[in-house]
């Protein structure tokens, strides 16, 4: 048998059980062995004798390679059995790290919602006050000008005042609508977020639960009385 025949036999056996990459790696090692031996003046026959039966060598290579492959995934399994608490701690910490962005997102969302609600509230109150002030101003103007100005001017003034009051009321109603719209948007966002996180649909809009609980409660109360 020649060196090349030996390597070929080894390769054929290895390819049956190992990847091409692993086989190439191993064949490289044995080719290196032959080259080193040759440089030391050894004959191919001598080296093949020293190496031993290629089938035995291949079997051992496969066995050792596969044993480490099995050990690698198996290694982490026995450890949790010995000391479970540190692993649980690690798991909890990891879970905490994973949940942190979600918590931050929810907190951020709540803060944003609060800011929007407070902002809208201020806007609403401001608009209401402005409307009322404009109304008072308009009415005040009517009484002020009656004494001094000619009827035509008074009529114009009254019209102007009514217009101002109407504008105030309009702005007030408009701001109410804006707040409602923003509230709806917030509810929609929350429903989307809730569904995305829990995979469950967010139950009925916020305004409904206020009505619903009254009905079952009164029924229960009546039933309770009937039973008694």
């Amino acid at each position: 048998m020649t060196k090349l025949e030996y390597l070929k036999l080894l390769e054929t056996d290895l390819q049956k059980r190992l990847s091409q990459y692993e086989t190439d790696e191993i064949i490289r090692d044995y080719a290196e062995y032959f080259a080193e031996g040759a440089s030391q003046g050894k004959t191919e026959e001598e080296m093949i004798n020293n190496l031993g039966d290629p089938a035995v060598v291949a079997a051992q290579l496969v066995e050792e390679t596969l044993s480490t492959r099995e050990e690698v995934p198996a290694a982490p399994v026995p450890t949790p059995k010995k000391g479970r608490s540190p692993w649980v701690t690690v798991l909890l910490v990891l879970l905490g790290i994973c949940l942190l962005p979600v918590a931050l997102m929810v907190a951020g969302g709540l803060l944003f919602a609060a800011a929007v609600v407070i902002g809208c509230g201020i806007f609403l109150v401001g608009m209401a006050v402005a409307g009322v002030l404009l109304g008072i101003l308009g009415l005040g103007a009517i009484f002020m000008y009656i004494a001094v100005l000619p009827p035509a001017a008074i009529a114009a003034c009254i019209t102007g005042c009514i217009a101002i009051v109407a504008a105030g009321v309009l702005v007030f109603c408009l701001s109410l609508q804006v707040v409602k719209l923003i509230w709806k948007l917030l509810c929609w966002c929350w429903a989307k977020l809730y569904t995305a996180i829990t995979k469950k649909p967010w139950p009925a809009p916020v305004s409904q639960p206020e009505v619903q609980p009254n009905l079952p409660q009164s029924f229960e109360a009546e039933e309770g009385e009937n039973n008694a």
Binding site: E32, Y33, L51, G52, V57, L61, E64, T65, T68, R69
Partner: protein, 103 residues
């Protein structure tokens, strides 16, 4: 001698050799086979397993007129493993010797 036992002893010898200095495959095989009559082909599988278990790292060094030499260097994990093996070995030999002496 039992092959499994033999394999363990050879494994310890390989670790002890490479612990002293980085060595390449042929060098290791010669160092081992100088003292025993093992098939030289069986040293490589052990070298390979110890490398896969991260007890050794390897690096290639170009050699004149031949393929590059793959050198093996022991890792901290390898040093620890060797330490444990030597400890177990000395304990076992002490026990065996005391039994053989009939103590």
């Amino acid at each position: 001698m039992n092959t499994q036992f033999r394999k363990g002893v050879i494994e310890m010898c390989i670790l002890a050799l490479i612990d002293k200095k980085d060595m390449y495959g042929y060098e290791i095989v010669q160092a081992i086979s100088r003292h025993t009559d093992i098939n030289e082909g069986t040293v490589y599988p052990i070298l390979r397993r110890l490398t896969m278990e991260n007890y050794f790292s390897t690096y290639l060094v170009e050699s004149r007129g031949g393929p590059a030499r793959k050198y093996y260097r022991i890792s901290p994990a390898g040093k620890l493993y060797l330490q444990q093996m030597v400890q177990e070995w000395s304990e076992t030999t002490q026990t065996v010797e005391s039994i053989l002496r009939g103590e």
